[in-house]
Symmetry: C2
Subunit: 256 residues, 2 copies
Protein backbone atom coordinates (compact mmCIF):
# COMPACT_ATOMS: atom_id res chain seq x y z
CA UNK A 1 0.00 0.00 0.00
CA UNK A 2 1.43 3.40 -0.95
CA UNK A 3 1.21 6.26 1.50
CA UNK A 4 -1.62 8.63 0.74
CA UNK A 5 -0.58 12.10 -0.45
CA UNK A 6 -1.05 15.03 1.94
CA UNK A 7 -3.24 17.68 0.31
CA UNK A 8 -3.71 21.26 1.52
CA UNK A 9 -7.03 22.81 0.46
CA UNK A 10 -7.74 26.54 0.52
CA UNK A 11 -9.80 29.14 -1.35
CA UNK A 12 -10.80 32.81 -1.37
CA UNK A 13 -14.58 32.59 -1.04
CA UNK A 14 -14.26 31.46 2.58
CA UNK A 15 -14.28 28.06 4.26
CA UNK A 16 -18.07 27.63 4.09
CA UNK A 17 -18.39 28.21 0.33
CA UNK A 18 -19.94 25.37 -1.73
CA UNK A 19 -16.93 25.49 -4.07
CA UNK A 20 -14.40 24.53 -1.39
CA UNK A 21 -16.76 21.89 0.03
CA UNK A 22 -16.79 20.23 -3.43
CA UNK A 23 -12.99 20.46 -3.66
CA UNK A 24 -12.61 18.89 -0.20
CA UNK A 25 -14.92 16.01 -1.18
CA UNK A 26 -12.92 15.28 -4.33
CA UNK A 27 -9.54 15.49 -2.57
CA UNK A 28 -10.72 13.11 0.17
CA UNK A 29 -10.95 10.45 -2.59
CA UNK A 30 -7.23 10.73 -3.36
CA UNK A 31 -5.40 11.85 -0.23
CA UNK A 32 -5.24 13.00 3.38
CA UNK A 33 -6.79 16.43 3.44
CA UNK A 34 -6.06 19.46 5.64
CA UNK A 35 -8.17 22.56 5.03
CA UNK A 36 -6.90 26.05 5.95
CA UNK A 37 -9.08 28.74 4.44
CA UNK A 38 -10.27 32.28 5.16
CA UNK A 39 -13.11 32.65 7.66
CA UNK A 40 -14.85 35.18 5.38
CA UNK A 41 -15.04 35.99 1.65
CA UNK A 42 -11.74 37.33 0.27
CA UNK A 43 -12.44 37.65 -3.43
CA UNK A 44 -10.14 39.92 -5.46
CA UNK A 45 -7.64 40.29 -2.64
CA UNK A 46 -4.83 39.24 -4.99
CA UNK A 47 -1.53 38.47 -3.29
CA UNK A 48 -2.41 40.59 -0.25
CA UNK A 49 -0.88 39.56 3.09
CA UNK A 50 -1.54 40.70 6.65
CA UNK A 51 1.50 42.50 8.06
CA UNK A 52 -0.14 45.30 10.05
CA UNK A 53 -2.67 43.19 11.90
CA UNK A 54 -2.94 40.00 13.94
CA UNK A 55 -3.97 36.63 12.52
CA UNK A 56 -6.35 34.27 14.28
CA UNK A 57 -6.67 30.59 13.41
CA UNK A 58 -9.60 28.44 14.58
CA UNK A 59 -9.63 24.66 14.51
CA UNK A 60 -13.05 23.51 13.42
CA UNK A 61 -14.31 20.52 15.38
CA UNK A 62 -16.23 17.92 13.41
CA UNK A 63 -17.65 14.49 14.07
CA UNK A 64 -16.62 11.35 12.19
CA UNK A 65 -14.33 12.86 9.56
CA UNK A 66 -10.54 12.47 9.39
CA UNK A 67 -10.10 15.79 7.57
CA UNK A 68 -8.71 18.59 9.72
CA UNK A 69 -10.13 22.06 9.08
CA UNK A 70 -8.93 25.46 10.21
CA UNK A 71 -10.37 28.90 9.47
CA UNK A 72 -8.00 31.86 9.26
CA UNK A 73 -8.84 35.52 9.84
CA UNK A 74 -6.47 36.62 7.05
CA UNK A 75 -6.25 36.46 3.29
CA UNK A 76 -5.90 33.36 1.08
CA UNK A 77 -2.11 33.88 0.97
CA UNK A 78 -1.98 34.23 4.78
CA UNK A 79 -3.89 30.95 5.01
CA UNK A 80 -1.27 29.13 2.95
CA UNK A 81 1.61 30.65 4.94
CA UNK A 82 0.09 29.74 8.31
CA UNK A 83 -0.81 26.25 7.04
CA UNK A 84 2.72 25.50 5.84
CA UNK A 85 4.60 27.07 8.75
CA UNK A 86 2.29 26.52 11.75
CA UNK A 87 -0.31 23.84 11.10
CA UNK A 88 1.06 21.11 8.85
CA UNK A 89 3.59 18.65 10.23
CA UNK A 90 5.24 18.22 6.83
CA UNK A 91 5.26 19.90 3.43
CA UNK A 92 2.10 18.84 1.57
CA UNK A 93 2.36 16.91 -1.70
CA UNK A 94 -0.22 19.15 -3.33
CA UNK A 95 -2.07 22.39 -2.67
CA UNK A 96 -5.41 23.02 -4.33
CA UNK A 97 -7.31 26.29 -4.14
CA UNK A 98 -10.95 26.88 -5.00
CA UNK A 99 -13.21 25.86 -6.50
CA UNK A 100 -13.76 29.56 -7.07
CA UNK A 101 -17.25 30.87 -7.68
CA UNK A 102 -16.46 32.70 -10.92
CA UNK A 103 -13.85 32.78 -13.66
CA UNK A 104 -10.16 33.34 -13.02
CA UNK A 105 -9.23 33.09 -16.68
CA UNK A 106 -7.11 35.63 -18.60
CA UNK A 107 -6.39 38.88 -16.70
CA UNK A 108 -8.55 37.80 -13.73
CA UNK A 109 -5.57 35.75 -12.56
CA UNK A 110 -3.93 39.02 -11.38
CA UNK A 111 -6.78 39.95 -9.00
CA UNK A 112 -7.61 36.44 -7.87
CA UNK A 113 -7.21 35.42 -4.25
CA UNK A 114 -7.78 31.81 -5.32
CA UNK A 115 -4.84 31.88 -7.71
CA UNK A 116 -2.64 33.94 -5.36
CA UNK A 117 -3.03 31.23 -2.71
CA UNK A 118 -1.96 28.61 -5.25
CA UNK A 119 0.96 30.80 -6.37
CA UNK A 120 2.09 31.23 -2.75
CA UNK A 121 2.10 27.44 -2.34
CA UNK A 122 4.12 27.19 -5.55
CA UNK A 123 6.62 29.67 -4.11
CA UNK A 124 6.95 27.30 -1.14
CA UNK A 125 7.89 24.51 -3.53
CA UNK A 126 4.50 22.76 -3.33
CA UNK A 127 2.83 21.62 -6.59
CA UNK A 128 -0.27 23.79 -6.71
CA UNK A 129 -3.46 24.25 -8.70
CA UNK A 130 -6.19 26.90 -8.61
CA UNK A 131 -9.63 25.74 -9.77
CA UNK A 132 -12.43 28.09 -10.82
CA UNK A 133 -15.90 27.53 -12.22
CA UNK A 134 -17.21 30.14 -14.67
CA UNK A 135 -20.33 30.69 -12.60
CA UNK A 136 -20.49 33.43 -9.94
CA UNK A 137 -23.63 31.97 -8.31
CA UNK A 138 -23.20 30.89 -4.68
CA UNK A 139 -25.47 27.94 -5.57
CA UNK A 140 -23.59 27.05 -8.76
CA UNK A 141 -23.66 23.38 -9.79
CA UNK A 142 -20.16 22.05 -8.99
CA UNK A 143 -21.09 18.41 -9.75
CA UNK A 144 -19.83 18.47 -13.38
CA UNK A 145 -16.41 19.75 -12.26
CA UNK A 146 -15.58 16.74 -10.09
CA UNK A 147 -14.19 14.36 -12.74
CA UNK A 148 -11.89 17.03 -14.19
CA UNK A 149 -10.71 18.34 -10.83
CA UNK A 150 -9.80 14.82 -9.74
CA UNK A 151 -8.08 13.95 -13.01
CA UNK A 152 -5.95 17.10 -13.08
CA UNK A 153 -4.98 16.76 -9.41
CA UNK A 154 -3.94 13.15 -10.00
CA UNK A 155 -1.84 14.10 -13.03
CA UNK A 156 -0.04 16.77 -10.98
CA UNK A 157 0.58 14.28 -8.15
CA UNK A 158 1.95 11.78 -10.71
CA UNK A 159 4.04 14.13 -12.88
CA UNK A 160 4.86 17.03 -10.57
CA UNK A 161 5.13 20.54 -11.98
CA UNK A 162 8.15 22.39 -13.41
CA UNK A 163 9.91 24.66 -10.89
CA UNK A 164 8.07 27.96 -10.45
CA UNK A 165 4.96 26.85 -12.36
CA UNK A 166 1.39 26.73 -10.98
CA UNK A 167 -1.75 25.64 -12.83
CA UNK A 168 -4.69 27.98 -13.40
CA UNK A 169 -7.65 25.71 -14.21
CA UNK A 170 -10.99 27.16 -15.28
CA UNK A 171 -14.09 25.09 -15.92
CA UNK A 172 -16.95 26.13 -18.21
CA UNK A 173 -20.50 26.35 -16.86
CA UNK A 174 -21.70 23.25 -18.67
CA UNK A 175 -23.06 19.82 -17.84
CA UNK A 176 -20.43 17.05 -17.78
CA UNK A 177 -21.77 15.62 -21.05
CA UNK A 178 -21.29 18.96 -22.81
CA UNK A 179 -17.66 19.48 -21.70
CA UNK A 180 -15.47 18.51 -24.65
CA UNK A 181 -12.19 17.96 -22.80
CA UNK A 182 -9.13 19.77 -21.44
CA UNK A 183 -6.92 22.30 -23.26
CA UNK A 184 -3.53 23.68 -22.20
CA UNK A 185 -3.69 27.39 -23.06
CA UNK A 186 -2.03 30.75 -22.79
CA UNK A 187 -3.60 33.63 -20.84
CA UNK A 188 -5.86 35.64 -23.21
CA UNK A 189 -5.23 39.36 -23.65
CA UNK A 190 -8.32 40.80 -22.00
CA UNK A 191 -9.21 43.54 -19.56
CA UNK A 192 -11.94 45.04 -17.43
CA UNK A 193 -13.44 48.29 -18.62
CA UNK A 194 -14.30 49.90 -15.33
CA UNK A 195 -17.45 51.79 -14.69
CA UNK A 196 -17.76 53.46 -11.32
CA UNK A 197 -21.27 53.69 -9.97
CA UNK A 198 -21.29 57.06 -8.15
CA UNK A 199 -23.85 57.51 -5.37
CA UNK A 200 -24.48 59.91 -2.50
CA UNK A 201 -24.83 58.67 1.06
CA UNK A 202 -27.48 59.94 3.53
CA UNK A 203 -24.91 62.46 4.87
CA UNK A 204 -24.51 63.95 1.38
CA UNK A 205 -21.08 62.51 0.73
CA UNK A 206 -20.28 60.94 -2.67
CA UNK A 207 -19.00 57.39 -2.85
CA UNK A 208 -18.33 54.80 -5.54
CA UNK A 209 -18.99 51.16 -6.25
CA UNK A 210 -16.43 49.58 -8.56
CA UNK A 211 -18.07 47.79 -11.45
CA UNK A 212 -17.07 46.99 -14.98
CA UNK A 213 -17.34 44.94 -18.12
CA UNK A 214 -14.97 42.18 -19.16
CA UNK A 215 -13.57 42.67 -22.67
CA UNK A 216 -11.64 39.96 -24.50
CA UNK A 217 -9.32 41.59 -27.05
CA UNK A 218 -7.71 38.35 -28.16
CA UNK A 219 -8.84 36.35 -31.23
CA UNK A 220 -6.32 33.55 -30.68
CA UNK A 221 -7.60 29.98 -30.59
CA UNK A 222 -4.85 29.01 -28.13
CA UNK A 223 -6.20 31.11 -25.23
CA UNK A 224 -8.11 30.19 -22.09
CA UNK A 225 -11.01 32.39 -23.18
CA UNK A 226 -11.31 30.52 -26.47
CA UNK A 227 -11.18 27.14 -24.75
CA UNK A 228 -13.88 28.08 -22.24
CA UNK A 229 -16.14 29.63 -24.89
CA UNK A 230 -15.80 26.44 -26.93
CA UNK A 231 -16.68 23.97 -24.19
CA UNK A 232 -13.24 23.01 -22.88
CA UNK A 233 -11.64 23.09 -19.44
CA UNK A 234 -8.67 25.49 -19.71
CA UNK A 235 -5.29 24.98 -18.03
CA UNK A 236 -2.86 27.91 -18.09
CA UNK A 237 0.54 27.21 -16.52
CA UNK A 238 1.44 30.46 -14.71
CA UNK A 239 4.70 31.69 -13.20
CA UNK A 240 5.77 34.21 -10.57
CA UNK A 241 8.95 35.26 -12.30
CA UNK A 242 7.40 38.40 -13.77
CA UNK A 243 10.53 39.46 -15.71
CA UNK A 244 9.67 40.57 -19.24
CA UNK A 245 12.87 39.08 -20.69
CA UNK A 246 11.94 40.17 -24.21
CA UNK A 247 12.03 43.83 -23.12
CA UNK A 248 15.46 43.85 -21.46
CA UNK A 249 17.54 44.42 -24.59
CA UNK A 250 15.45 47.40 -25.66
CA UNK A 251 15.64 49.14 -22.27
CA UNK A 252 19.38 48.45 -22.13
CA UNK A 253 19.72 50.71 -25.17
CA UNK A 254 18.30 53.70 -23.33
CA UNK A 255 20.42 56.66 -22.41
CA UNK A 256 21.52 55.98 -18.81
Amino acid sequence: MTKKPLILVTNDDGITAPGIRTLIAVMQEIGDVVVVAPDSPQSATGHSITINNTLFVNKITKDGDATQEYSCSGTPVDSVKVAVHEILKRKPDLCVSGINHGSNSSINVIYSGTMSAAVEAGMEGIPAIGFSLCDYDWNADFEPTKTFVKQIAQEVLKNGLPDGVILNVNLPKLTAAKIKGIKVCRQAKASWQEQFDKRTNPQGRDYYWLSGEFVNMDNGEDTDEWALANGYVSIVPVQYDLTAYHAMQKINNWNF
Copy 2:
Protein backbone atom coordinates in the same frame (compact mmCIF):
# COMPACT_ATOMS: atom_id res chain seq x y z
CA MET B 1 6.72 75.12 -26.46
CA THR B 2 5.73 71.47 -26.15
CA LYS B 3 2.76 70.51 -24.03
CA LYS B 4 3.74 69.21 -20.62
CA PRO B 5 3.09 65.51 -20.02
CA LEU B 6 0.27 64.55 -17.65
CA ILE B 7 1.64 62.41 -14.83
CA LEU B 8 -0.41 60.33 -12.38
CA VAL B 9 1.32 59.72 -9.04
CA THR B 10 0.26 57.04 -6.58
CA ASN B 11 1.78 54.75 -3.92
CA ASP B 12 0.94 52.18 -1.26
CA ASP B 13 2.33 53.85 1.87
CA GLY B 14 -0.45 56.45 1.81
CA ILE B 15 -0.67 59.99 0.47
CA THR B 16 1.22 61.56 3.41
CA ALA B 17 4.31 59.32 3.17
CA PRO B 18 7.66 61.07 2.62
CA GLY B 19 8.33 58.75 -0.34
CA ILE B 20 5.36 59.99 -2.37
CA ARG B 21 6.08 63.60 -1.41
CA THR B 22 9.56 63.19 -2.96
CA LEU B 23 8.08 61.58 -6.07
CA ILE B 24 5.56 64.42 -6.46
CA ALA B 25 8.35 67.02 -6.17
CA VAL B 26 10.42 65.32 -8.89
CA MET B 27 7.45 64.86 -11.23
CA GLN B 28 6.48 68.52 -10.87
CA GLU B 29 9.80 69.33 -12.58
CA ILE B 30 8.80 67.44 -15.72
CA GLY B 31 5.03 67.50 -16.04
CA ASP B 32 1.53 68.35 -14.85
CA VAL B 33 0.93 66.20 -11.81
CA VAL B 34 -2.27 64.64 -10.45
CA VAL B 35 -1.96 62.60 -7.26
CA VAL B 36 -4.46 59.87 -6.37
CA ALA B 37 -3.23 57.72 -3.52
CA PRO B 38 -4.57 55.69 -0.59
CA ASP B 39 -5.61 57.65 2.51
CA SER B 40 -3.83 55.10 4.75
CA PRO B 41 -0.92 52.65 4.51
CA GLN B 42 -1.62 49.75 2.13
CA SER B 43 1.67 47.88 2.10
CA ALA B 44 1.63 44.28 0.88
CA THR B 45 -1.93 44.52 -0.44
CA GLY B 46 -0.78 43.18 -3.81
CA HIS B 47 -3.30 43.52 -6.61
CA SER B 48 -6.21 43.67 -4.17
CA ILE B 49 -9.30 45.62 -5.26
CA THR B 50 -12.41 46.74 -3.38
CA ILE B 51 -15.48 44.96 -4.73
CA ASN B 52 -17.45 44.31 -1.53
CA ASN B 53 -17.20 47.80 -0.07
CA THR B 54 -17.69 51.44 -1.02
CA LEU B 55 -14.89 53.76 -2.15
CA PHE B 56 -14.54 57.33 -0.95
CA VAL B 57 -12.41 59.93 -2.72
CA ASN B 58 -11.43 63.23 -1.09
CA LYS B 59 -10.03 66.21 -2.99
CA ILE B 60 -7.30 67.76 -0.91
CA THR B 61 -7.36 71.54 -0.92
CA LYS B 62 -4.00 73.30 -1.04
CA ASP B 63 -2.77 76.83 -1.45
CA GLY B 64 -0.51 78.00 -4.28
CA ASP B 65 0.21 74.68 -5.99
CA ALA B 66 -1.13 73.59 -9.40
CA THR B 67 -0.92 69.92 -8.49
CA GLN B 68 -4.27 68.28 -7.79
CA GLU B 69 -4.35 65.72 -5.01
CA TYR B 70 -6.98 63.16 -4.07
CA SER B 71 -6.96 60.58 -1.30
CA CYS B 72 -8.80 57.30 -1.85
CA SER B 73 -10.22 54.98 0.82
CA GLY B 74 -9.26 51.90 -1.20
CA THR B 75 -6.13 50.04 -2.27
CA PRO B 76 -3.36 51.28 -4.58
CA VAL B 77 -5.02 49.49 -7.52
CA ASP B 78 -8.40 51.08 -6.64
CA SER B 79 -6.65 54.47 -6.64
CA VAL B 80 -5.38 53.96 -10.19
CA LYS B 81 -8.78 52.76 -11.42
CA VAL B 82 -10.65 55.69 -9.89
CA ALA B 83 -8.00 58.13 -11.15
CA VAL B 84 -8.21 56.91 -14.73
CA HIS B 85 -11.98 56.48 -14.91
CA GLU B 86 -13.36 59.20 -12.63
CA ILE B 87 -10.79 61.91 -11.92
CA LEU B 88 -8.52 62.47 -14.91
CA LYS B 89 -9.90 64.22 -17.97
CA ARG B 90 -7.58 62.30 -20.30
CA LYS B 91 -5.32 59.26 -20.19
CA PRO B 92 -2.06 60.24 -18.47
CA ASP B 93 1.24 60.05 -20.34
CA LEU B 94 2.91 58.36 -17.39
CA CYS B 95 2.00 56.76 -14.08
CA VAL B 96 4.59 56.59 -11.31
CA SER B 97 4.08 54.74 -8.04
CA GLY B 98 6.13 55.11 -4.86
CA ILE B 99 8.68 55.95 -3.79
CA ASN B 100 8.10 52.92 -1.61
CA HIS B 101 9.61 52.80 1.86
CA GLY B 102 11.37 49.44 1.43
CA SER B 103 12.53 47.09 -1.31
CA ASN B 104 10.26 45.69 -3.99
CA SER B 105 13.03 43.72 -5.67
CA SER B 106 12.87 40.02 -6.58
CA ILE B 107 9.84 38.16 -5.15
CA ASN B 108 8.63 41.25 -3.26
CA VAL B 109 7.11 42.43 -6.55
CA ILE B 110 4.31 39.86 -6.02
CA TYR B 111 3.17 41.30 -2.68
CA SER B 112 3.80 44.94 -3.49
CA GLY B 113 0.95 47.44 -3.56
CA THR B 114 3.36 49.95 -5.13
CA MET B 115 4.08 47.67 -8.07
CA SER B 116 0.49 46.45 -8.38
CA ALA B 117 -0.64 50.07 -8.84
CA ALA B 118 1.95 50.49 -11.60
CA VAL B 119 0.92 47.19 -13.20
CA GLU B 120 -2.74 48.27 -13.16
CA ALA B 121 -1.78 51.47 -14.98
CA GLY B 122 0.16 49.35 -17.48
CA MET B 123 -2.96 47.24 -18.02
CA GLU B 124 -4.78 50.50 -18.86
CA GLY B 125 -2.18 51.20 -21.57
CA ILE B 126 -0.33 53.85 -19.56
CA PRO B 127 3.50 53.70 -19.42
CA ALA B 128 4.15 52.99 -15.74
CA ILE B 129 6.99 52.74 -13.25
CA GLY B 130 7.13 51.63 -9.62
CA PHE B 131 9.95 53.17 -7.56
CA SER B 132 11.19 51.74 -4.26
CA LEU B 133 14.02 52.69 -1.91
CA CYS B 134 15.72 49.84 -0.03
CA ASP B 135 15.10 51.53 3.31
CA TYR B 136 11.97 50.75 5.36
CA ASP B 137 12.43 53.79 7.62
CA TRP B 138 9.58 56.34 7.49
CA ASN B 139 12.30 59.01 7.74
CA ALA B 140 14.51 57.47 5.04
CA ASP B 141 16.67 59.89 3.03
CA PHE B 142 15.01 60.13 -0.40
CA GLU B 143 17.30 62.95 -1.60
CA PRO B 144 19.80 60.65 -3.41
CA THR B 145 16.96 59.00 -5.39
CA LYS B 146 15.86 62.19 -7.14
CA THR B 147 18.31 62.27 -10.07
CA PHE B 148 17.64 58.63 -10.96
CA VAL B 149 13.87 58.87 -10.58
CA LYS B 150 13.80 61.90 -12.88
CA GLN B 151 16.13 60.35 -15.45
CA ILE B 152 14.21 57.07 -15.67
CA ALA B 153 10.82 58.85 -15.88
CA GLN B 154 12.15 61.05 -18.69
CA GLU B 155 13.48 58.04 -20.61
CA VAL B 156 10.07 56.34 -20.36
CA LEU B 157 8.32 59.52 -21.53
CA LYS B 158 10.74 59.73 -24.47
CA ASN B 159 10.86 56.06 -25.51
CA GLY B 160 7.58 54.64 -24.24
CA LEU B 161 7.43 51.06 -23.02
CA PRO B 162 6.72 47.84 -24.93
CA ASP B 163 3.08 46.68 -24.74
CA GLY B 164 2.33 44.94 -21.46
CA VAL B 165 5.63 45.93 -19.81
CA ILE B 166 6.02 47.96 -16.57
CA LEU B 167 9.26 48.97 -14.88
CA ASN B 168 10.14 47.86 -11.35
CA VAL B 169 12.85 50.27 -10.17
CA ASN B 170 14.66 49.74 -6.87
CA LEU B 171 17.21 52.14 -5.42
CA PRO B 172 19.98 51.15 -3.01
CA LYS B 173 20.23 52.88 0.38
CA LEU B 174 23.34 54.86 -0.55
CA THR B 175 24.40 58.48 -0.96
CA ALA B 176 24.20 59.77 -4.54
CA ALA B 177 28.01 59.71 -4.82
CA LYS B 178 28.15 56.03 -3.93
CA ILE B 179 25.50 54.92 -6.46
CA LYS B 180 27.39 53.43 -9.43
CA GLY B 181 24.66 53.67 -12.07
CA ILE B 182 21.60 51.86 -13.43
CA LYS B 183 21.32 48.19 -14.42
CA VAL B 184 18.53 46.45 -16.34
CA CYS B 185 18.03 43.13 -14.53
CA ARG B 186 15.95 40.03 -14.18
CA GLN B 187 13.97 39.25 -11.00
CA ALA B 188 16.20 37.26 -8.61
CA LYS B 189 15.02 33.88 -7.35
CA ALA B 190 14.42 34.65 -3.70
CA SER B 191 11.79 33.99 -1.06
CA TRP B 192 10.63 34.84 2.43
CA GLN B 193 11.12 32.17 5.06
CA GLU B 194 8.15 32.83 7.29
CA GLN B 195 8.31 32.75 11.02
CA PHE B 196 5.03 33.25 12.84
CA ASP B 197 5.28 34.97 16.19
CA LYS B 198 2.60 33.21 18.27
CA ARG B 199 1.17 35.12 21.24
CA THR B 200 -1.80 34.88 23.57
CA ASN B 201 -4.20 37.77 23.99
CA PRO B 202 -5.62 38.92 27.37
CA GLN B 203 -8.67 36.71 26.75
CA GLY B 204 -6.45 33.64 26.43
CA ARG B 205 -6.84 33.28 22.69
CA ASP B 206 -3.79 32.55 20.51
CA TYR B 207 -2.93 34.82 17.64
CA TYR B 208 -0.06 35.30 15.20
CA TRP B 209 2.09 38.05 13.79
CA LEU B 210 3.50 37.26 10.37
CA SER B 211 7.23 37.77 10.22
CA GLY B 212 10.06 36.29 8.22
CA GLU B 213 13.50 36.43 6.78
CA PHE B 214 14.35 37.27 3.18
CA VAL B 215 16.54 34.65 1.50
CA ASN B 216 18.19 35.20 -1.87
CA MET B 217 18.80 31.83 -3.52
CA ASP B 218 20.20 33.28 -6.74
CA ASN B 219 23.92 33.70 -7.46
CA GLY B 220 23.39 35.31 -10.85
CA GLU B 221 25.07 38.64 -11.54
CA ASP B 222 22.20 39.69 -13.82
CA THR B 223 19.62 39.96 -11.04
CA ASP B 224 18.11 42.93 -9.21
CA GLU B 225 19.47 41.65 -5.90
CA TRP B 226 23.01 41.57 -7.29
CA ALA B 227 22.69 45.08 -8.73
CA LEU B 228 21.38 46.54 -5.45
CA ALA B 229 24.01 44.76 -3.35
CA ASN B 230 26.69 46.14 -5.66
CA GLY B 231 25.61 49.78 -5.58
CA TYR B 232 23.41 50.00 -8.67
CA VAL B 233 19.84 51.11 -9.23
CA SER B 234 17.97 48.05 -10.59
CA ILE B 235 15.33 48.12 -13.32
CA VAL B 236 13.34 44.94 -13.91
CA PRO B 237 10.83 45.08 -16.78
CA VAL B 238 7.81 43.11 -15.53
CA GLN B 239 4.75 41.75 -17.32
CA TYR B 240 1.22 40.72 -16.40
CA ASP B 241 0.98 37.91 -18.93
CA LEU B 242 1.76 35.22 -16.35
CA THR B 243 1.72 32.32 -18.86
CA ALA B 244 4.66 29.96 -18.33
CA TYR B 245 5.04 29.32 -22.06
CA HIS B 246 8.01 27.00 -21.48
CA ALA B 247 5.79 24.61 -19.49
CA MET B 248 2.94 24.25 -22.01
CA GLN B 249 4.50 21.50 -24.11
CA LYS B 250 5.24 19.31 -21.10
CA ILE B 251 1.72 19.59 -19.67
CA ASN B 252 0.28 18.88 -23.11
CA ASN B 253 1.90 15.46 -22.91
CA TRP B 254 -0.08 14.49 -19.83
CA ASN B 255 -2.79 11.89 -19.94
CA PHE B 256 -5.99 13.86 -20.44
